[in-house]
């Protein structure tokens, strides 16, 4: 089965990022394919390399980074949602004359077209969202 995952909840104020991680990891272990993971809305914060997680808490950025690198996942962050929330890669930081960038591989910025493609290409699109 080919899955794509849509994440739509804050990493710090919802369980969406964590639930999506568990599902993705489990699906991969069961031999399924993950076509794309699309971070939308508040979930874009999960892709920021500047977050500092307390030692006794799960570092969701690190967890997703390792999972994505291990399995060569296409972890896409919605560019519009990311920019307005201050999650930028080097080209966007330069383009908008911002002080720094905080988004790096394996994460990449892209538009909702990638979500549409994921919806069309995958057998299942699963959303993990929050208020």
């Amino acid at each position: 089965m080919i899955f794509s995952i849509l994440i739509y909840g804050s990493p710090t104020n919802s369980l969406s990022v964590e639930s999506a991680y568990r599902f993705t990891k489990t699906a991969l272990a069961a031999g399924h394919t993950i076509h794309r993971v699309f971070f939308y809305g508040e979930s874009v914060y999960a892709a920021s390399s500047l977050s500092v997680t307390p030692r006794d808490e799960v570092d969701c950025f690190q967890a997703w980074k390792e999972l994505a690198e291990t399995h060569d996942l296409d972890v896409v962050v919605c560019i519009a949602a990311a920019l307005k929330r201050g999650v930028l890669d080097p080209p966007e930081a330069k383009r908008h004359e911002k002080l720094a960038y905080n988004l790096a591989p394996p994460f990449s910025l892209s538009g909702l077209g990638q979500l549409t493609d994921a919806a069309l290409t995958s057998d299942r699109l699963i959303t993990f969202g929050s208020a």
Partner: protein, 97 residues
């Protein structure tokens, strides 16, 4: 056309629960996840749901909240692996949040 519905909010979010339960068709399945598992301890919540609808609750989320032993008789605890399987067995997944 079987749909797997997931709900992740506690039942005090009555508007969400009412809309979700009203959308369940006899061939569908409901999976409680995250805080949605809190709704799994009271069978009466599902009184209006067609009898043929299977109701599951995700074990890690139940254990997190200390209610794995409190499930209503008509709610079955399932693993993350089963969640993935259910997603495969149903034509689509609708997430209620």
């Amino acid at each position: 056309m079987r749909t797997l519905h997931t709900i992740n909010q506690a039942p005090s979010n009555s508007q969400l629960w009412s809309s979700c339960l009203a959308a369940l068709l006899p061939e569908d399945t409901l999976l409680l996840i995250e805080n949605g598992v809190l709704g799994g301890t009271q069978a009466h919540r599902f009184a209006a749901v067609p009898n043929s609808v299977l109701i599951y609750a995700l074990t890690p989320d139940l254990q997190t909240r200390g209610i794995a032993e409190q499930l209503a008789p008509n709610v079955i605890a399932v693993s993350d692996e089963t969640f993935v399987q259910l997603a495969c067995e149903h034509q689509k997944v609708v997430s209620w949040f």
